[in-house]
Symmetry: C2
């Protein structure tokens, strides 16, 4: 459990009795539960300010929850989730008056149920504190993300080496996700395979369209032991023109230089501006953020927007992903990068030289 | 857009100016936006009580949103989402005083932003109305789900015919999901492949464990054109004992009989009780709900719990999935079923006879 004592110190400072994170729906994604408990199922994690955190899950989830490293209690049909939490809290003399939550993962329905079941209490939002806590990774988290990036590299490499077999975008996507699942991993976001004119859309949704000649943008990430990776590569199907090769190499140069200038405590907006400046006449075709932190969630701190106030901290993992989107095609080159001991390390090591499949 | 006029009639009856559904996070699942607009991306759908519904999406999502059948406006960095909504509302003389929302898909953060940007307004929860609206499917929705079930059947059939090639549970899962993605579909929930003792867990999370001899429970569903399917089959790896064959056939008989008794307006609890009675000495090993509606979400109305108040309505699609979970193995047999013109039709047609792979 990463940083639990740091988090409990925050709870004490803010006089919060417990932090409560809930997953009430099958298939929901609750990052706090995953972060603190490594548990993706239905149930609740309760983190008291001074006592050991614990999970409460329905009986059917017990065997899955028991694989985690913290104490698990079960709720049942007779004694449902909130009743069980109340009971345990009473026994352990944990107050439920000031409850810390993450507002961005807490629905209005959940709030209604909570107040109905727990009674009068004050909800205090800890979203900012949680996201700041997660920004700087522990050595164990770094090792996990590194391993994830290595697996993701292998999968992309295998995909590119067999690329000629694919006829449709959905076949490339299916291959990438198959190789991911086969290794017992998940995908960290919906894979994008955007060929030809589709690559000019920043957030294209891949369907069973035939692969078109021209640039083919692939944005792919896996979730390994709950931690995300994120890589984009743009390859070329057919024979690129000189202009196309030049624009690709320009973007690649910009991306490499952006990574090279990164130093601890540098403002994210400075890296963003550096990229815009270097893109020159193409700057206006770069229409999204330059990057984002990566961890339990695919989008974490810091944010590399033009007006971002974030600074790049030691032991943070983030993407650097400039792109150029023209009328007929788009190119994006993205790495997941670690800043540690004052130096940047690129974690996604698959080649960035323009791969031509003709 | 299914049932939009019925929904607008509800808005008028409740004196709600507009219904608002938002997706602010990349990768979130907002069922209302998918239901009314078929749009899975970032943005908002606004349904006024008398005027045409419209989407507001960030510029980068425009090409994806434009594929839908309703008017799309874009927000930009200069004029963000809520500002754009306010502007359009003003131009079209749409009031934003009484806003309908779905509390179960609306976070406390979103509420904060909404109130900050829109100003004083009253939020009215329409979750129940929305779920009731979706319960009875239109002919178009039924056709889509039927087609989805047909595709899912094909995939499962292919999987079973090649089952001998699989060594690990994750390979089966990867195969099923690969075949799904290759056809341009999504999975509707995390696939379960639970072999041997793992099948005794109701909600097992598949990992790269080697396939064990004995029963192997597969719970699998696809999302075709946004609509879910849901099937469970339990096969046998190796040579089953007579007891194992008998218990399987007993459950199968119970499942078939449960489907056979279904009639329009029957209480779900009655079907549940019928199953419990027929399971006899095994009733205590059936530890979850008997079924659930299926549609845009994998879990919709009606609910087949013991104490469910729901009735089975014309043109509803739902699962019937009794299970028996013993110490060393579990069996579940599940079909997606349609009730239409007073008759039940099983949509997942893949054989339920015990498949033995020895």
């Amino acid at each position: 459990m990463p940083k639990i004592s740091e988090f409990q110190a925050i709870l004490r400072k803010k006089k919060i009795d417990v932090f409560l994170s809930l997953n009430l729906g099958y298939g929901n994604f609750i990052s706090d539960m995953l972060y603190f408990a490594g548990y993706p199922g239905i149930g609740a994690i309760i983190i008291p300010q001074n006592k050991k955190p614990f999970l409460v899950v329905p009986e059917g989830e017990l065997s899955s929850a028991k694989k985690r490293s913290l104490k698990v209690y079960t709720s049942s049909k007779k004694k449902r989730l909130f009743e069980t939490i109340k009971d345990i809290a009473k026994k352990q003399k944990i107050k439920l008056k000031r409850i810390g939550i993450n507002k961005s993962e807490f629905t209005l329905s959940t709030k209604d149920v909570l107040i109905k079941k727990i009674g009068k209490c004050r909800l205090i939002d800890l979203q900012k504190e949680l996201y700041r806590l997660r920004e700087q990774k522990t050595q164990e988290e770094i090792n996990t993300i590194k391993k994830g990036c290595k697996i993701s590299d292998e999968i992309l490499k295998k995909c590119f080496s067999q690329f000629k077999q694919f006829k449709a975008e959905s076949e490339v996507l299916a291959f990438l996700e198959y190789e991911t699942k086969k290794r017992g991993c998940e995908i960290s976001f919906p894979t994008i395979v955007a060929s030809g004119i589709h690559s000019s859309e920043v957030h294209y949704t891949t369907d069973d369209s035939k692969l078109k000649k021209g640039f083919c943008l692939i944005d792919f990430g896996i979730r390994y032991k709950n931690y995300c990776t994120d890589t984009s590569r743009t390859i070329y199907l057919g024979n690129p023109s000189e202009t196309e090769v030049n624009i690709y190499n320009k973007l690649l140069d910009v991306q490499k230089k952006a990574i090279a200038i990164i130093k601890p405590n540098m403002k994210c907006s400075k890296v963003y501006k550096h990229v815009k400046d270097n893109l020159g006449e193409h700057a206006k075709f770069f229409t999204h953020g330059l990057g984002h932190g990566v961890g339990i969630m695919i989008h974490e701190l810091p944010s590399f927007f033009e007006d971002s106030k974030n600074k790049i901290k030691e032991n943070s993992v983030f993407t650097i992903e400039p792109g150029i989107y023209l009328k007929n095609y788009g190119i994006r080159i993205e790495d997941s990068v670690l800043l540690t001991m004052g130096k940047v390390e690129i974690l996604t090591k698959i080649s960035k030289e323009l791969k031509i499949i003709s």
